[in-house]
Amino acid sequence: MIEINKRQENHYLLISVSGEADASSSIHLDKTIREAMDDNGPNILIDCTKLEYISSAGLGVFMSYIEEISRNSINFIIFGLSEKVLKVFGILGLDQLLTIKNTKEEAIAIIDGV
C-alpha cells in the first residue's frame, strides 16, 4: 500500500511518498507526478523518507519522467531515501540521471542555487 501527499510549500511542490511502491501502487505515483508536471511548477521535491520499498514498476515511473525533466529544465529532487532504497537506485544507475539528496535542506539548497 502506498500513501502519497502533495502540497505546495513556498516555492516548490512537495510530494511525500510513504509505504511501498509496487506494481499496483505505482499507478497512483505516476498519476501524482503527472499532475505535478502538468502544473508547470519549476521545482518538485519528492520526500521518500517513509518509502520502505520500491519495485521495478516504481523505478519505471521515475525513469519515465527523466527526459521531460531535462527537457523542461525542472528541478526534480528526490531526498530522504533509506540506505536500502538508495542502493536500488544506485544499482540501476538512476542516481546518474536523477538528482538525489539526503535531506530536505540539501534539496532546497539546490533549488535556491546555493
Binding site: A23, A57, G60, V61, M63, I66, K84, G93, L94, L97
Partner: protein, 677 residues
C-alpha cells in the same frame, strides 16, 4: 382408445338390438330366453367403456387450457343437443301418424337418446375431473378416486332394478354420493388462473352447459311422462349422480368466476410482478451491462405502483451521475428533487434488511404540484448506497403497503443482480489473467537455454525458479571461439505477459548481436538502441554481459544496471561484488547512454567462482521483512567455495528457502554459478 370407442358403439348397438328383440318377443309372446340382466349388464359395460374412452381422450389439462376444455364440453353438448332436437323434431313431424306409435322406432330413439346423453354426461364428468384435479393433493386424489370407484360401481346398480322413488337403499346411496359430489365440487382453484377475458368466456360456456344439462334432464325425466311416450323410466343411479355432480360443479364454477371478476386484475398483477422479479434476477448475462438492470428495475417498479413518472439515478465517483428516466425530463427531475428535499410531509420507512439510516425509503407528499406523491428508494450495493430510484404519482398517497413491499424486493433483487454482474466480471477477468500468466510462463521456459556453452576450463551451472506472477529473468551463453565465451544474465522489469515478451525481444537481440563479437560496452550500447524502440514507456531491462577468455584468464564485462555479480577469489578466500558504473537498458533511449556505462576487466585463477544472480535472490524477504541481502550471500559463498557449481547452487537455494520460511516467491529466483578449473 379406439378400441374402447369401437367396443362402446358395438355394445350400444347390441343393447339396442336386444331391446328391440325384447319388444318383438313381447309382441309375439315369444320368450327369447334372454336374461333381462344381460341387457342391464350390457348397458353398464357400455357406460364404463365410454368412461374409459373419455379418460384417454381428454388428457390432463395443461396451463391455460381451461377454456379449451370448456369448449369441448360445450361442443359435445351441442352435438348431442342437436341430435336430440332432431329426434324431437322428427317426432313432432310424424305426430299422429302410425309411425309415431311404432314401438320399435320409439325404442330405437329412446336408446339413442339415452346413449347420447350418457356420452355427454361422461365427457363432461371427465372434464370436471381434470379441473378438480388441476391442483392435486394427496387427500384430494384419495377422495376423488373413492368417488370415481363408487360411480363406476353404480353403473351396475341398475342390475338391482331398484328405483329412486321406491327404494330407501337407492335414496340413501344417492344421497351419500350426492354429498360426496358436492364436497368435491369445492375444488375450483383453476378459476384463479384465468385472466379477465378468459373468465368471461368461461361464464358464457358454463351458462350454456347448464342449459344443456337442464334440457337433457327434461328430455329424460320430465318430458317423457308428460308427453306420454312409451318411455321407460331412466332410473339409473349412475346418471342421476352424474347429473347432480355436473350441475353443482357448473353452478359453483359460475358463481366463483363471477365473484372473482373484480379481483382478477390483482392476480394478474401479481403474476406480472413475479415475472418482473425473475427478469431482474436473469438480466445478468454476457454482453449486458448494469444499465439494463436499472432499466428493468425502473420499468417493473413503475408498473407495480402504477407510477406516472420515475427515474433511477446512480452516483458515479469518477464521472457524472447516470440517469435513467421515464416520462420525465432532466430539468423536471432537478425540480422534483428540490421539492422532495424541502417537503415537510414525509414518511420515512426503515429498510427491513439493515439498521443503518442511509438506506431508508422515503414517501413524500408534494403539494401544489402535478405530482402529488413521491417514493424514494435507495439502491444499495454491499451496504453502500450507490443511487436512488424515484417513483412519482399524480394521485396523492398512492403508495400502499403492498406496493412498498414489492418495491423493496425489487430494489434488493436489483442489488443482488448488480453484485452478481460485477462478480462475474471480476471472475472472468481473473481467469483471463491466469491464462495470460500461463502463457508468459511457457514463453519464458522456452527461451532459457537447455545447454550452457563452456569449455574444459570452467564449469557452469544454472538454476531458475519462476514465481507465480512470472517475472522476466533471463540468462544465456554463446561460444565466441574455442577459448572465448559470452555469458549474459538479465532481468526484465514488470511481470506477466509483457515481461515475457520483452524477455523474448532481449533474447533475440542477444542472439543476433553476440555474433558480431562486440565488446561488452558496445554490446550494451547496441542493445539499448534496439530496445529503445520496442520497450514500453516505463519498462527497462537490467543486464550484465561477460566475455570469458579462458586462454588469457581474463573476464571483460559491462553492467547495465543489473545486480553486481559476486566473485570469489581462491587466493584471498574472500568474495566481492563486481560493481562498476552502469545504467539499465531502456532508461536512456538515445546516444548518451554510452556515457553511463563503464567496461571493466579482471583476471581469474583456478578455483575462482563467479555467481550471477537476479534480485529475486538478493531481495528475498523473510517474515520479519528482512532481505536476504548481500552480506549473507558473501558469507554463503565463502563458506561453500570448495564445492562444485551444482552443489554451491543447491546450498544457496536451500539456505534461501530456509531464510524465507513460508513466504511465497513473488519474483523469479535465478542464479548461474561458474567455477574455473
Amino acid at each position: 382408445m379406439r378400441l374402447s370407442l369401437v367396443l362402446a358403439v358395438l355394445l350400444w348397438l347390441i343393447g339396442t338390438l336386444i331391446d328391440i328383440l325384447q319388444l318383438l318377443a313381447v309382441r309375439s309372446e315369444v320368450d327369447l330366453g334372454i336374461n333381462p340382466f344381460l341387457d342391464k349388464l350390457i348397458e353398464s359395460v357400455f357406460l364404463i367403456l365410454v368412461m374409459a374412452y373419455f379418460r384417454y381422450r381428454i388428457k390432463t389439462v395443461e396451463t391455460s387450457n381451461f377454456i379449451d376444455l370448456l369448449w369441448r364440453v360445450f361442443a359435445t353438448g351441442l352435438i348431442t343437443t342437436i341430435i336430440s332436437l332432431i329426434i324431437v323434431l322428427f317426432y313432432t313431424s310424424i305426430e299422429g301418424s302410425p309411425l309415431a306409435d311404432n314401438q320399435f322406432v320409439a325404442t330405437f330413439f329412446q336408446d339413442l337418446n339415452r346413449g347420447l346423453i350418457s356420452v355427454f354426461l361422461i365427457s363432461t364428468f371427465t372434464v370436471w375431473k381434470r379441473l378438480i384435479l388441476y391442483q392435486k393433493s394427496k387427500r384430494l386424489v384419495y377422495y376423488w378416486n373413492l368417488f370415481e370407484v363408487t360411480i363406476i360401481l353404480s353403473t351396475f346398480f341398475t342390475l338391482t332394478e331398484l328405483t329412486l322413488q321406491s327404494s330407501l337403499l337407492f335414496e340413501l346411496i344417492f344421497a351419500a354420493m350426492a354429498i360426496m359430489a358436492i364436497l368435491l365440487s369445492g375444488n375450483l382453484k383453476w378459476v384463479a388462473y384465468l385472466n379477465f377475458k378468459q373468465k368471461w368466456k368461461g361464464i358464457l360456456l358454463i351458462l350454456l352447459i347448464t342449459i344443456y344439462i337442464f334440457y337433457f334432464f327434461n328430455s329424460l325425466y320430465i318430458a317423457p311422462t308428460e308427453a306420454g311416450y312409451f318411455f321407460e323410466n331412466f332410473d339409473s343411479l349412475f346418471v342421476l349422480v352424474l347429473f347432480t355432480f355436473i350441475l353443482f360443479y357448473s353452478l359453483f364454477s359460475l358463481l366463483v368466476i363471477l365473484f372473482n371478476l373484480p379481483t382478477s386484475s390483482v392476480f394478474e398483477k401479481k403474476m406480472e410482478e413475479a415475472l418482473n422479479f425473475q427478469r431482474l434476477s436473469q438480466s445478468v448475462s454476457q454482453g449486458e451491462n448494469e444499465e439494463e438492470i436499472f432499466e428493468v428495475l425502473l420499468m417493473s417498479s413503475m408498473s407495480a405502483v402504477y407510477a406516472d413518472a420515475g427515474w433511477v439515478e446512480i452516483n458515479h465517483k469518477a464521472s457524472d451521475n447516470q440517469f435513467i428516466a421515464k416520462q420525465i425530463s432532466r430539468e423536471e427531475i432537478n425540480h422534483v428533487k428540490e421539492l422532495v428535499l424541502s417537503a415537510k410531509s414525509r414518511t420515512v420507512l426503515k429498510n427491513p434488511f439493515t439498521s443503518e439510516g442511509t438506506s431508508d425509503r422515503v414517501i413524500v407528499n408534494l403539494k401544489r404540484y402535478h405530482y402529488k406523491s413521491a417514493f424514494v428508494v435507495p439502491i444499495t450495493l454491499q451496504n453502500e448506497v450507490i443511487g436512488f430510484m424515484y417513483l412519482l404519482n399524480e394521485v396523492a398517497e398512492s403508495f400502499n403497503k403492498e406496493m412498498i413491499n414489492i418495491i423493496n424486493t425489487f430494489a434488493s433483487q436489483a442489488s443482488v443482480a448488480i453484485e452478481n454482474f460485477r462478480l462475474i466480471g471480476k471472475a472472468i477477468e481473473n481467469e483471463r489473467y491466469q491464462e495470460e500468466l500461463n502463457i508468459a510462463k511457457n514463453v519464458q521456459r522456452q527461451l532459457l537455454p537447455k545447454q550452457l556453452d563452456h569449455n574444459a576450463s570452467f564449469d557452469i551451472h544454472a538454476f531458475t525458479e519462476a514465481a507465480a506472477e512470472v517475472g522476466g529473468d533471463y540468462y544465456d551463453t554463446f561460444k565466441l571461439g574455442e577459448t572465448r565465451f559470452a555469458i549474459v544474465i538479465g532481468d526484465v522489469s514488470g511481470k506477466g505477459t509483457s515481461a515475457a515478451f520483452h524477455m523474448s525481444q532481449m533474447k533475440g537481440i542477444f542472439q543476433s548481436l553476440v555474433q558480431m563479437d562486440l565488446s561488452p560496452k558496445e554490446f550494451l550500447v547496441h542493445a539499448n538502441a534496439a530496445l529503445s524502440k520496442c520497450l514500453e514507456r516505463t519498462s527497462f531491462i537490467t543486464l550484465t554481459y561477460y566475455i570469458i577468455d579462458t586462454e588469457n584468464h581474463i573476464i571483460d564485462f559491462a553492467r547495465a544496471g543489473h545486480c553486481p555479480t559476486l566473485f570469489y577469489s581462491k587466493k584471498s578466500k574472500t568474495s566481492t561484488f563486481l560493481e562498476n558504473k552502469g545504467l539499465g537498458l531502456g532508461i536512456m533511449r538515445n546516444d548518451t547512454y554510452q556515457n553511463f556505462i563503464e567496461e571493466s576487466q579482471f583476471s581469474f585463477d583456478k578455483d575462482d567462482i563467479l555467481v550471477l544472480y537476479t534480485d529475486g535472490i538478493s531481495e528475498a524477504k523473510n517474515n520479519a521483512n528482512e532481505e536476504f541481502g548481500f552480506d549473507r550471500m558473501t558469507k554463503l559463498l565463502e563458506k561453500n567455495a570448495h564445492y562444485d557449481p551444482v552443489m554451491i547452487q543447491k546450498v544457496f537455494i536451500s539456505k534461501l528457502y530456509e531464510f524465507c520460511q513460508d513466504n511465497l516467491l513473488d519474483d523469479d529466483y535465478t542464479m548461474v554459478v561458474i567455477k574455473f578449473k
